[in-house]
Symmetry: C2
């Protein structure tokens, strides 16, 4: 808390016009109801490799007056942008990040970004664009000569942006309109933005901050289009910060949130850059002016060139979990404190005691664990494949990583939106206050749906990978992606369940539950295959067939891939924690049960088609409710174990001390002009006069 | 468009740094694809009784420079509040609203509010609080002596607020903590806010504007609590606008949207008001100081006292349709213009040609019609029951109106959130720009979920009414609510469908579809009855039984009530329009089919339990897709027929002229400091220096 803010609060308390409040013990009472979980163990396993960085950053942010959500909420756009840069600078230099460190510890800079996201998505995004999208592109597809730029970027001497999206093209990057024409005489490229829609758009940091940018453009050599390539170019003068001649940079303006990011547009008019601007690991131009490339397939080359998005999408997965965890911390604490209604003639009871409220919140807590444990797998797999990114960019391992990362990105971002929305609704009107933080979390989470690959488009990449693996089996090969090993190509093998259940005990069993989610995966695979066959009978264009097999089929197939891998990883996590603490393990196991049972219930129609009967559907629904009831008493302790410190969370209704009404009053009384007459008072009198003159 | 803004745009065009754009004909091309619908007929039937008011208000707003979304988006909170009051004043006096007019034409002032909502939810809400919540409460439960206040309010001499919600109590109004103690000697009431949580909270107009308020408080007579009653009291001095002694008024601060409403808090310290402050139609205190009431049941009396919410909830229903219609207008026009990908080696195609995009948008268009046609029924039924509100407040007719209004409010508000969210996602990153308007529409729509009765709580009122009607049948009476006449109390009568379908033609038939939705209603009723019986075996507290029967049961039952009545009204609308224009009727009939088929698909599990088989489930899904495909070509023309004028819509990507890229560029280039260096440039240099000193 800043000294100024502390003083404000003290002043408010003394000057408050509200009746004196007594200590509210509701939150502690609720905490006392559940299992005594081992918070420290849970937190260490949950954050795993990132634990130390996270704790260090939380501590640094808690002590630092620059991190204050209440101030940020009322800041004008430009002020907020300045604040965000100050925040980055205040933390960055104590972490010694560099290319060398990144090679040894590829998660290091990710953890730093996740730490920033504990405070705010806008903050982390602003930095991720530089340290992940910009730098990773240089690292992935640049060559030795770009090393100096990489080092300068790690030192924050240059601040980079990522010029991919254009006003007219987002998902279809292959069709961007920006051109880079090779001039052999000068051995330079001439970059141009030929149309209004070719303007690079939404480019983070381009609005005000960046002096460098990666620019994706159609490479033209000797009048021949060679497809999209990436160039690293200066856009502002290093010393004066003036936009360079031939470049136009501007601000994309107000957004629905995340105004701390200076998203900008970028246009080029005959902007000449030297040959070395080309990131030339996979394409280059020989000294005699001939285009060369190590990729025959342009699409594959483009996919590799967009490798900077790998860690960007990972940040979406973890970032979604963070928004969910924050929102759940707020909503669960609120619900334990907030009392409303009760039994006949009894006292009012905490709303977290109601079935409706539990069902609104607890399944999201289970999902947060699914995303987090999926995210841990994502991180460990990234370490495994990292050397191949540099050396075998087309290997199956990398394709598999891409595929489930795409599925995770889509599943996590949509879970996140559903969760932050339900949390906002679950706290009622107070969720509409800026001081609850839920509106910010909800609006921030929203971006995750459409950036780093629009969900509807991205999920198709997961679907394509699955189809390619199935095609292998048609040719007599085996599926070679470990995350898909449970897929059965023979429908007879999977159309019925091997196990069954007649009561909730039999249902709540890890083998039964994993079989259910595996069934769903296989069932959707076969429905999708059938739909593609059906569509192939009426069209010969395979893209049309593909496009017409999306809704209910490929789209759902891609998502269940993500859900299945997450469930598998969640179960491993349960085993791990059970081995270390029985009590904690018991609660987390119930969360795992709930995750799968709830997933089954939400697609119960698929199961009723041929695997379950209506009596079993009832058992599933009853199980969802019962698990919510069993977990609810421990839910506050679970979020307590994982929660960010109060000022990092920044919610008047989500503080760990449980005094939410007091904090809400403080926040409101500290607002600008809280007790002042309106500046526009004369208007009220004018209206009355106008009215009287009409009578 | 204001002259200033027009000048700005002209200046921008001349000074624009973007390449010159050519005319984009994509939107007109898409318009040319569909049926030639009769726009004027459609619009007249759709807006019905409100058509003239709407057209008059749209015209007035189009010509008035006060209505400018781009300006409002960047306005500080206080400036926006002033603007909203100016907007109200600029329109109000040409509509001659009064108590007399309201008695003759009860929809008149509703239409005025709906007209304001065409521009913005914040605008209409700010006025609805006064003209509906405040005035209707006076009209409903005041007596002759309050007539003067009613007239003053209609003349805008007084501006009223509605002091119901408190910091500690929202849904459970019966437990508000504010007290009104009767002092017989002075024949006055003494109003007090005994605790911090007793502060009236979120009170619209209390923050800055209102000089009057209705206040709900626990009436205490001779030391005996007599339940919640409403009082009308001055809160600010009429002449000076100072808060009156004994009253504390303040500003609730920043919200996640709707900052044009000055929501405030209200506290009372021994605030004395005369006896006539009591709205005494149903409770009064005799001259000898005895409490009298015409209601034995406190809960029923409170329900009648909250009658001001009837038209408030109606505004939520219509307001949701408006947000949806605006969002769909923007997203559908965008999708007809935006091109991305295409078939092998073909040109890029409008994204509205994709199955995924059609499925994301077209079902919402069908739902908007369902809400609107349900809303028309709501309005006509309101006229029918209006005399009973004054004379027989406990009549079954009014209870029925309450019940389906509650269901409509819940269904419409959640449809609205899903729609505005999908529209925002469907336009990708550009939906994140403030200039797209979609973020505003989405955030505004969000409030509808929790105000005017929190959805989770409110839907239970619909459920209770259904249960009471069923209880009548147990006693040998018939169901007497016409909207529930299709309910069967004998499960054998409804557990199977009478008709069946083996292909989509047989499915797409109004009798078949109405039977499906009636089946769902009956099926959920019987599941809910069984669940209540099941729970009653383990608990004797009927409230506990009720609370534990919510999820999957009462909650879903209440919603299907709303969906069923909407479907019934939608079908009447189809018949009506078919009689007048065959072509238009054909398209709207398909929308009706889609509405029901989509509703069936989204709860397909219920049907698969015992009514449909998996082959029929496939027919349902295929039908959803095919109907989306058949409607899509006409979808732009449908929204065109109903759309608000461009400046009322206020979206750079949703203009009727189809030049969305040009408008987006204009909006951005008109933003503040678009091409300026950051004010905080020194910070960038400081960071570099700090970095260098560490090397």
């Amino acid at each position: 808390m800043s000294n100024l803010r502390r003083l404000d609060l003290l002043k408010t308390h003394l000057l408050s016009k509200f009746p004196t409040s007594s200590l509210d013990r509701s939150l502690d009472e609720y905490r006392g109801r559940g299992e005594k979980i081992n918070s420290s163990l849970l937190s260490q396993l949950y954050f795993e490799d990132g634990y130390d960085t996270l704790m260090k950053m939380r501590k640094a942010m808690t002590k630092n007056p620059l991190f204050n959500h209440y101030e940020e909420a009322e800041m004008p756009r430009e002020k907020l942008r300045e604040r965000v840069v100050q925040q980055i600078a205040s933390l960055y230099f104590s972490f010694n990040l560099s290319y060398e460190v990144d090679k040894k510890w590829p998660l290091g800079k990710c953890h730093f970004c996740f730490g920033l996201a504990e405070h705010d998505l806008g903050l982390t995004t602003r930095f991720c664009v530089h340290i992940i999208l910009y730098i990773d592109t240089l690292q992935n597809i640049g060559t030795k000569k770009h090393l100096e730029l990489i080092n300068r970027a790690y030192q924050l001497l240059d601040y980079g942006s990522f010029g991919m999206t254009e006003l007219g093209h987002g998902s279809n990057v292959a069709k961007v309109e920006t051109t880079a024409t090779y001039d052999h005489n000068a051995r330079e490229f001439i970059i141009n933005s030929p149309t209004p829609t070719s303007a690079k758009w939404w480019i983070g940091a381009a609005g005000k901050t960046a002096n460098m940018s990666v620019v994706f453009a159609q490479l033209i050599v000797d009048g021949v289009g060679r497809g999209v390539h990436a160039f690293v170019v200066p856009v502002r003068d290093y010393a004066t910060h003036e936009t360079l001649p031939g470049v136009i940079l501007g601000d994309c303006g107000k957004k629905l949130s995340n105004d701390g990011i200076d998203n900008g547009f970028m246009l080029f008019k005959n902007y000449r850059v030297p040959y070395d601007a080309l990131l030339d690991k996979y394409s280059w131009i020989s000294p005699d002016g001939k285009f060369k490339t190590s990729f025959k397939n342009q699409d594959k080359r483009l996919a590799v060139m967009l490798g900077g998005l790998i860690r960007g999408r990972t940040a979406v997965v973890i970032g979604s979990e963070q928004n969910m965890r924050h929102a759940l911390t707020i909503a669960l604490r609120f619900s334990a404190i907030r009392k409303q209604f009760g039994l006949q003639n009894g006292p009012e009871v905490p709303i977290l005691d109601y079935q409706t409220q539990r069902y609104r919140l607890i399944p999201h807590l289970a999902r947060a664990f699914a995303i987090r444990t999926g995210g841990l797998f994502l991180c460990s797999n990234y370490i495994r494949i990292r050397p191949k990114i540099d050396n075998e960019p087309e290997s199956d391992d990398i394709n598999e990583h891409h595929a489930f990362l795409s599925a995770f990105k889509v599943v996590a971002s949509s879970y996140g939106v559903a969760c932050t929305q339900d949390c906002r609704e679950a706290v009622g009107g107070l969720g509409y206050s800026s001081y609850s933080a839920l509106g910010r979390l909800r609006a921030n989470q929203d971006t995750h749906l459409t950036w780093e690959g629009d969900n509807t488009v991205l999920i198709q990449q997961a679907g394509k990978f699955i189809f390619k693996q199935i095609q292998r089996t048609f040719k007599g090969y085996k599926i070679n992606a470990p995350t898909l090993s449970i897929l059965k190509t023979d429908y007879e093998e999977c159309k019925a369940l091997k196990q069954s259940f007649e009561n909730s005990q039999q249902l709540e069993n890890e083998k039964m539950l994993m079989e259910l989610i595996e069934f769903k995966f296989n069932h959707l695979l076969h429905k999708a295959l059938l739909k593609v066959q059906e569509n192939a009978q009426v069209s010969t264009d395979m893209l049309e067939v593909w496009n017409n097999s999306q809704v209910f089929h490929i789209q759902d197939l891609g998502k269940v891939y993500g859900e299945y891998v997450m469930a598998r990883e969640f179960l491993k996590f349960v085993h791990d924690i059970e081995a270390k603490c029985e009590v904690t393990g018991r609660v987390i196991r119930k969360l795992f049960y709930l995750y799968v049972v709830d997933t089954v219930d939400r697609s119960i129609g698929l199961f009723l088609e041929n695997a379950l009967n209506s009596q079993q559907a009832k058992i599933v629904k009853d199980s969802v409710i019962r698990l919510c009831n069993e977990i609810a008493p421990s839910s506050v302790s679970i979020v307590d174990a994982l929660a960010a410190p109060d000022n990092v969370l920044g919610s008047a209704i989500g503080n760990s001390d449980g005094q939410m009404y007091t904090h809400m009053i403080e926040s409101v009384e500290n607002g600008p002009n809280v007790y002042e007459k309106p500046e526009w008072l004369p208007l009220i009198h004018q209206i009355r006069e106008a009215s009287k003159s009409k009578q």
